[in-house]
Amino acid sequence: MKNNLPGILVGSLIFFCAPGFAIVPVPAPEQSEPIAITGAIIHVGNGAVIGDGIITFDDGVITAVGSAMDAIDLSGHRVIDLQGQHVYPGFVLPNTTLGLVEVENIRSTQDIIEEGDINASVRAAIAYNTDSELIPTLRFNGILTAQITPQGGLVTGLSSVMKLDGWNWEDTMLVADDAMHLNWPTLRSRDFNEETEQFETTDNEEYAGQVQVLNSLFQNASTYNGAPINLNLLAMQGLFNGMVRLYLHANDAKEIIAGVQFARRYGVRQIVLVGGREALQVKDLLLANSIPVIYEGVHALPEQEWHDVDASFRMPFLLHEAGLKVGIGGGATELQSQRNLPFFAGTAAAYGLDRETALSLITRNNAEILGVADRVGTIETGKDATLFVSIGDALDMRTSQVQQAFIQGRQIDLYGTQQELYERFDEKYSQPERD
C-alpha cells in the first residue's frame, strides 16, 4: 500500500478510469458541515506548535484552535483524527507567474510580459488560468495561496493574491490587485554569452534614461487628478493612498538604495523588496523604512565565487537575525520548481533558522507581506480554514506527505496529472509479466 498518495483518491480514480486525460481536478465544493481535526501536531505558522491539537472550522473559517486539554466543543463536527500527523497553514507563494504560462519556451502559452516598459494598468488576475496543469503540483506540496504577478519592463502591472482552487479567476480571488510591481533598472547586467560560453558583466548604459522614465511617470502619477484619462496613472493611485503596495524588485545593493529612495520620494506608502540578494548590505535602510524582504535565492549559487559556499542557504537566517521581516519566495527559480517552496524554507532551517521560524517565513510572514494575514498564513481562530495535513515534517522532502488540504474549508483534490500518470504506470508495471 502506498502511503504517499493523498488519502482521498476515490474521486480521482474515476478520472483515471475515464477516457479523459490531463484534465485538472474539479474545484472543491463549499464546506458543507463543521469539521474538527484532532490528534494533530499543529504548526501555527507564527512559531508556535501545539501538540495533540484540535482545529475546528465551519463555513470556511476557523472556529477554534487548541490542544486536547482545551475544552473545544466538537459536537456536530465531522471529526478527522490525525493520530499525530502534522497540520500546517497553507503555504503562501509570493511573486509567481503561476497560471500565466503553461510551457515556458512556447510563446503562445505565455501571458506574462506585456509590451512596453510601463504597464501599470495591466492585471495579472484576468489572465490567471485556473486550469493550468501546474497548479495541482504546487498544492501537492502544501502551497495553497499565491500572488500571481506579471513580469517585464519597468512597471510590470498589478498582481493579485489567489486561492489555488476554483472554477475561474473570479472565484479564486483572495485580494484583487494587491500590488504594483516595479523592476528597478539594473546598473549592470551579467549575461551568459553563448559565443564565448562565459558570463559577462556589462554596464547598463540606459540606466539613467530608465530612471528618468520612472521619474516622469511617478511625477505625473503622484499629482494626477483624473484628467485626462490615463489608465496607467489611474492604476497607480493606490500606491499613494496605501491601498496598493509597491513591490520593488531589486537584488543589487545600490539598486535597492536607489529604488527605496525613489519610492519614498514619491510618497509610496507601502514598499516590499523582492529578490533582495544584497538586502543584508543595506539592512539599516530597510529597517528604518520598515520594508520587508521577500528573499528568492535560497536554492541559488552564491552570488560571487568567493562568497561562502552556503551563503544563499544562510541568507534568510541572516536577514531574520538583522531584524528584518523576511519571507521566502520562489521567483528566482523556474516556475515549475516553485513547488519546492517548503524545501527552500527547510534548507534555510538547516543553515541557521530554527524550524518553526523557517516555517513562518513561508506562512505568516509571506501572508503579512502580501497583506492577507487576516485571512491566511496562520492557524488561528477567525482566519480562513486554509490548511493542510502532512504525515511528516512538510519542510523536509524526506517526510513531506501531504494528505489532505482545505482552502476556506473546502477540501480540495490533491490529485493532478502527475499523480494520474503515476497511477497509470504503477498499474502497468504491477501487472503480471505478459509474454
Partner: protein, 986 residues
C-alpha cells in the same frame, strides 16, 4: 665620465646609413654602395654569461658584426663611434608580434542560420585551417608600429597573423628602414597554431574542444594526404602543413590549462610546441615545466581593479585580486621552476619596460631576462647564428642603454639594426656632473643633471648662507644658455656660451646688464642617488594557491588513515544501514565493523552522525571551460580537453557531499563529445581529477535541443526526430564501413601494405566504432518515449546497448523496455514543464523506472542542484515511496553502477575507495549538512577548515585591496599597470 668625449658621440648621431644595397634594384641615378664600417668603442658590453666587458670595441661592417674585443686598436678603415660609459646589449628579439600583417576582414553576419560551407578556393574545407598562409606574402612595413617596436629596443621581430587554428607561417623581420625585401630575414620562420577559431564565416568548430579535435583531425588528414601520389584532390592547406612541419611550431594558448591540453596534442603527433602562453603560467609552474615546452611569455599585467567602492568591489573575484598581486612574479616563478622562456612585448605595449623592470625587481634575474629577449628567441627560431648574440658574423643589431638594462633609471639610447643607427633618446646625459661656475668674480657650485631625459641645473654660491638656486637652462650639442636669479638681488644673470673639452665658457650680462665673462668647469660626477638602487625582495607577498581561487590552499590536504567510529553507516551493501566503525587506510576502506583496532590511525568520533558513500553526479557540466561543440556529430571532441580544475563549483560540490561526477558534453547535437569522469580533488591538476580507470563514455542527445527548436533560422540537419534517427543510423553505418576498411587493410601482408595507402584515420568514425565495439558507453539525453524507443532500436540493430538515458523524463512510460534493453536511467527528481517535451515529465519517474527494474540515478545537470543531490534523492521517497536505502543509492551506488565504477565507488565496503561523507543528520533530510567529505581518504572539504578558508579569503581580499588603494593614492603600483583588463570569472 667626463664631458670630453661628447663631441664624438654627437657626430655619430648625425650619420645616416643607406644600408646594404639590394643588388637586383635598378637605381634611379648612380650606384651608391657603402660598407658602413663602424667601430663602437668604450662601451660596457653584455656577455652571454651575464658578465660585462668593459671598454669593449665592436667592429661592424655591411650590417654585420666583424668582431667583439677589448682591443682599443681600431683599424683605419672603421669610423669610430665612442660610446664610453654606455651599456651595449644584443639587439632585442620579439618572437610574437603581428607587425606589418593586415588583419582578416570580419565576415558579414547573416542571421542565426548555421554556415557550414567551406572556402571557395582549393584550400582546406575548414576555413580556420589556414596553414597555407604565409606572412611574408602579406608583410608590408607599418611605420608607426615599427617605430614603437624600435623604441622598445627590438631590432628583430617575428610577424604572424594570429588568426585561426592553423595559422600558417610567420616571417622574421628586422626593423630597419630597408625595403621589405631586405627586412624579411626569413620568410617562413615558424608555423603557428591556436585553439581559437578566429575570423571565419563558418559555424564550426564552435568551441575550444572542437578546435582541439579539428587540429588533431587535420594532422591525421595531412599524414594520409602525404601518402598519396598523385593526391586524391588538391588541398593547399594540407600541403602547406606538410611543408612547414619541420619549422618551429608555435602554439598560442590563453591559459595554463590550455597549455597542458596543447602539449598533450603535441605529444600525440610527435610535436613539441613552443607555447605562447598568457601571464598566468606561474599558477601551475610545475605542470608547465613538465611539458618540456619553451614558452613565449608576455609581460602584460592586469590593471589594478577598482576597489574604492566597497559595494562594487564585492564583485571582484578573489582570483583576479591575487593575480593582480602576483602577475609580476610570473617570470620569476617560471624561472625558479626551470622553465625556459622568451619574452614578448605582445599585450604589454608601452608598459613593456615598466613591467620588465617590475619583473626583475620581483626577482627575475637580469641574465635570464636578457636571454629571454635575445638568445632564447633566436634559438627558438633556429637563428642563433644571426641574431640574439654579439658574435662575429651576426647581424649588427645592438641596443645601447645608459646603464644596466633593467635598472630603474636606465634609458634606452640607441638601437642599431643591421648596422643602421636609430637614436631613441637624444638627451645628452654624458655631461651631467658637478661643475665649478665662475661668473666674473663670483664662484658657484653648479650641478647639471639629466634626470628622466630632461636637463636640470641648480647652483649654490660658495659664499656662506646662500641656498640652492634653480637655473633656467637650454642646452644643445653646440650651445648653452642659462640664467638665474640670486636671492636679495633684483634681476637675472643671463649667460651664453660654447663647449670646451671639459665644460663651457662664454659671455653674458649680470643683474645690472653689465657684460660679464664666465666659465663652467667639470669637477666630478654627481653623487648617485642611493635610493635608485631598487632592492629585490625575494619573498612572495602571498603564496600561490591551488586552485588559484577562493578556498584554494597552499598545500593540498593528504590522505589520512583514520577510523570513523559509531556513525550510522549507510553501507549500500547487504549489511544495510547500521551503527558501526569504518577504518580507512591508504585511501581505501580497510574494514567495516564494530570495535575495529585502528593502531595509530586518526580516531574520529562520529556518534550521532551519518556516514555515506560520496555522492556521484552522473550528469554535470561543472569544471569545464566549454560545454557544447555544434557539429551534428561531435564524437571527436573530448571534454577532458577543457577540464577546469579551478572552478569553485568543485568545492561547492564537495560541500554538498559530491565526490565524483561525469562531466558531459552539452545537448546541442545528436552525437556529442566524449565525457570526462572526475573526482572532486580540489586543488589537483586537471588531468589528476580524471578517474584513471573510468571507462570511456560519450554523450548523445535527442529531441528539441538537437532539432535546434529554439532557433527558427536553423538549417542544420536534423530538424525533426525523423532526421535524428537517420543521423544515428548513418553514423553507425559509416563507422562499420570504416571499421571494415581498416580490417581489410590490417589483414594485408606487410608487402601489400607497403603498396597500399592506409585508410584515412577519422576521429568521428573511430569514436563511433568504439561504441559499436562496446569499448565506449553511451549516455543519451532523452525526453519522450518515441525517441527513447528509437534509440534503443537503433542500438540493438547495431548490436550494442545504450548504457544510460539521462534526463529520461518519460522513461516511466517505457521503463519495461529500458529494463529489457539493459539501459539505466539518470533523471531529475522533479524537473518538468520548461519545454514541450517535458510536459508529461513526472516526479514519480525515478520510482517507476526503479519499479520496472531499471538502474536509476538522480543527477543534477546544474551546478546549484548538484550540491543538494541528497535532497533530490529524498524527493523520490515523497514521489513514489522509495525506501530510504534505495533513495540514497540513487545518488551513490546507482550512478557508480551506471558509470561502471561500482567496483571502487558507491558503497562502503572493504577495498573500495574511501570516498565518504560525514553528515550532521539523516543524509536524506533537508536538515542534513555535510561535515567532512573525503576522497580516497583525503578530507578535501571539512566544515572546520572551511571556516578558516573563509577567513583567509576575507583577510586576503582586504589586504590586497588595501594594497591597491595605497598604490592608487600615489604609492608604488605593486604589479605594474598593463593594458589588460581584469579577466572575468567562469
Amino acid at each position: 665620465m667626463s664631458p670630453t668625449r661628447i663631441s664624438l658621440l654627437l657626430i655619430g648621431t648625425l650619420l645616416t646609413f643607406a644600408g646594404s644595397a639590394q643588388e637586383t634594384v635598378t637605381p634611379n641615378g648612380i650606384e651608391d654602395v657603402r660598407l658602413n664600417a663602424i667601430a663602437i668603442t668604450g662601451v660596457t658590453l653584455y656577455q652571454p654569461d651575464g658578465q660585462y666587458l668593459e671598454n669593449a670595441v665592436v667592429l661592424m661592417r655591411e650590417g654585420r658584426i666583424v668582431s667583439i674585443s677589448d682591443n682599443p686598436a681600431v683599424p683605419d678603415d672603421y669610423f669610430v663611434v665612442d660610446l664610453a660609459g654606455r651599456y651595449l646589449y644584443p639587439g632585442l628579439i620579439d618572437a610574437y608580434t603581428e607587425y606589418g600583417i593586415p588583419a582578416i576582414e570580419p565576415p558579414v553576419t547573416t542571421g542565426n542560420a548555421e554556415r557550414l560551407d567551406g572556402p571557395q578556393q582549393a584550400l582546406n574545407t575548414k576555413e580556420t585551417i589556414r596553414a597555407h598562409f604565409r606572412a611574408s606574402l602579406e608583410f608590408a612595413h607599418d611605420e608607426e608600429t615599427r617605430k614603437n617596436l624600435r623604441d622598445l629596443g627590438f631590432s628583430t621581430v617575428l610577424s604572424l597573423r594570429a588568426d585561426g587554428i592553423a595559422r600558417g607561417t610567420s616571417a622574421l623581420v628586422t626593423l630597419g628602414d630597408e625595403s621589405a625585401n631586405e627586412s624579411v630575414l626569413v620568410p617562413d620562420v615558424a608555423a603557428h597554431f591556436s585553439f581559437s577559431r578566429g575570423t571565419t564565416h563558418q559555424s564550426l568548430p564552435s568551441s575550444p574542444m572542437g578546435a582541439v579535435a579539428l587540429l588533431r583531425q587535420t594532422y591525421l588528414d595531412a599524414q594520409w594526404f602525404a601518402q598519396q601520389n598523385p593526391r586524391p584532390f588538391t588541398d593547399e592547406s594540407l600541403e602547406a602543413l606538410l611543408r612547414t612541419g619541420s619549422l618551429p611550431q608555435i602554439m598560442e594558448v590563453e591559459t595554463w590549462q590550455q597549455a597542458l591540453t596543447a602539449d598533450r596534442v603535441g605529444d600525440e603527433f610527435l610535436t613539441q610546441y613552443i607555447l605562447k602562453v598568457g601571464n598566468d603560467a606561474y599558477q601551475q609552474a610545475q605542470l608547465i615545466e613538465d611539458t618540456d615546452a619553451v614558452l613565449i611569455v608576455p609581460v602584460n599585467f592586469p590593471a589594478a581593479p577598482e576597489v574604492s567602492d566597497a559595494l562594487d568591489a564585492d564583485e571582484l573575484s578573489f582570483a583576479d585580486l591575487k593575480h593582480w598581486e602576483l602577475a609580476a612574479y610570473n617570470l620569476r616563478l617560471l624561472n625558479e621552476q626551470g622553465v625556459e622562456f622568451a619574452i614578448t612585448s605582445h599585450g604589454a605595449g608601452k608598459d613593456f619596460w615598466k613591467n620588465m623592470r617590475a619583473a626583475v625587481a620581483k626577482g627575475l634575474p637580469e641574465q635570464v631576462a636578457v636571454d629571454a629577449l635575445t638568445r632564447i628567441p633566436a634559438q627558438l627560431l633556429n637563428m642563433e647564428n644571426r641574431i640574439g648574440q654579439l658574435q662575429s658574423g651576426a647581424l649588427a643589431n645592438l641596443l645601447i642603454s645608459s646603464g644596466p638594462l633593467f635598472a630603474e633609471d636606465t634609458r634606452l639610447l640607441e638601437n642599431w639594426i643591421r648596422g643602421e643607427r636609430f637614436v631613441l633618446d637624444a638627451s645628452i646625459d654624458g655631461r651631467s656632473g658637478q661643475y665649478q661656475l665662475v661668473v666674473g668674480s663670483d664662484n658657484y657650485n653648479f650641478e647639471l643633471d639629466f634626470d628622466k631625459g630632461k636637463v636640470k641645473a641648480s647652483l649654490v654660491s660658495t659664499e656662506e648662507g646662500v641656498d640652492e638656486i634653480d637655473v633656467t637652462l637650454e642646452l644643445t650639442e653646440d650651445l648653452i644658455s642659462f640664467s638665474f636669479a640670486e636671492p636679495d638681488i633684483d634681476g637675472l644673470v643671463r649667460l651664453n656660451g660654447w663647449p670646451l673639452d671639459a665644460g663651457w665658457q662664454g659671455t653674458g650680462l649680470d643683474q645690472s646688464g653689465a657684460p660679464v665673462a664666465w666659465q663652467l668647469t667639470y669637477v666630478q660626477p654627481l653623487v648617485p642617488d642611493a635610493a635608485a638602487v631598487a632592492e629585490i625582495d625575494m619573498t612572495l607577498p602571498a603564496p600561490v594557491l591551488h586552485p588559484f581561487e577562493a578556498f584554494g590552499r597552499e598545500t593540498i590536504p593528504v590522505s589520512q588513515d583514520m577510523v570513523i567510529r559509531n556513525a550510522t553507516v549507510w553501507t549500500n551493501e547487504d549489511a544495510g544501514t547500521l551503527i558501526t566503525d569504518v577504518l580507512v587506510r591508504d585511501g581505501r576502506i580497510a574494514a567495516v565493523g564494530t570495535g575495529l583496532r585502528a593502531g595509530d590511525a586518526l580516531e574520529i568520533d562520529a556518534t550521532g552522525k551519518h556516514l555515506t558513500p560520496g555522492i556521484i553526479d552522473e550528469h554535470s557540466h561543472i569544471a569545464l571551460t566549454s560545454i557544447n561543440e555544434s557539429a551534428t556529430n561531435s564524437s571527436m571532441v573530448r571534454m577532458r580537453d577543457v577540464l577546469d580544475s579551478e572552478d569553485v563549483n568543485i568545492y561547492r560540490n564537495l560541500a554538498g557531499g559530491v565526490t565524483a561526477a561525469q562531466l558531459l558534453h552539452g545537448s546541442a547535437n545528436p552525437i556529442g563529445g566524449q565525457s570526462a569522469i572526475i573526482k572532486m580533488k580540489w586543488g589537483m591538476a586537471p588531468e589528476a581529477l580524471l578517474i584513471e580507470d573510468a571507462p570511456p563514455f560519450i554523450k548523445f542527445a535527442l529531441g528539441e535541443n538537437v532539432k535546434r527548436s529554439t532557433n527558427p533560422a536553423s538549417i542544420r540537419y536534423p530538424q525533426t526526430r525523423m532526421g535524428v534517427e537517420q543521423v544515428f543510423v548513418d553514423a553507425f553505418s559509416q563507422a562499420r564501413e570504416y571499421g571494415r576498411r581498416w580490417d581489410d587493410y590490417n589483414s594485408l601482408s606487410a608487402a601489400a601494405k607497403r603498396s597500399t595507402t592506409p585508410p584515412r584515420r577519422d576521429l568521428v568514425n573511430e569514436t563511433m566504432l568504439e561504441i559499436l565495439n562496446k569499448e565506449r558507453y553511451v549516455t543519451s539525453h532523452s525526453y519522450v518515449q518515441s525517441e527513447i524507443n528509437m534509440l534503443m532500436t537503433v542500438a540493438e540493430s547495431f548490436d550494442f546497448n545504450i548504457n544510460t538515458f539521462t534526463h529520461i523524463l518519460e522513461g516511466y512510460k517505457v521503463a519495461d523496455k529500458m529494463a529489457e534493453h539493459g539501459a539505466g536511467g539518470s533523471t531529475f527528481a522533479d524537473w518538468w514543464g520548461y519545454k514541450w517535451e517535458v510536459r508529461y515529465a513526472i516526479p514519480y519517474n525515478a520510482a517507476l523506472m526503479h519499479q520496472a527494474g531499471v538502474v536509476v540515478a538522480i543527477n543534477s545537470d546544474d551546478a546549484e542542484m548538484s550540491r543538494r543531490l541528497n535532497q533530490e534523492a529524498a524527493k523520490i521517497i515523497k514521489y513514489g515511496d522509495l525506501s530510504e536505502i534505495d533513495a540514497l543509492k540513487l545518488v551513490t551506488l546507482n550512478p557508480a553502477i551506471l558509470l561502471h565504477l561500482d567496483h571502487r565507488m558507491g558503497s562502503i565496503r572493504e577495498g573500495k575507495d574511501a570516498d565518504l561523507v560525514l553528515w550532521s543528520d539523516h543524509p536524506l533530510s533537508v536538515y542534513a549538512v555535510p561535515e567532512t567529505t573525503w576522497i580516497e581518504g583525503v578530507p578535501y572539504y571539512d566544515r572546520q577548515s572551511d571556516q578558516s578558508l573563509r577567513e583567509m579569503v576575507g583577510v586576503e581580499r582586504a589586504r590586497i585591496m588595501a594594497k591597491i588603494a595605497a598604490a592608487d593614492s600615489g604609492g608604488n603600483d605593486n604589479s605594474g599597470n598593463g593594458e589588460e583588463e581584469p579577466a572575468h570569472e567562469e
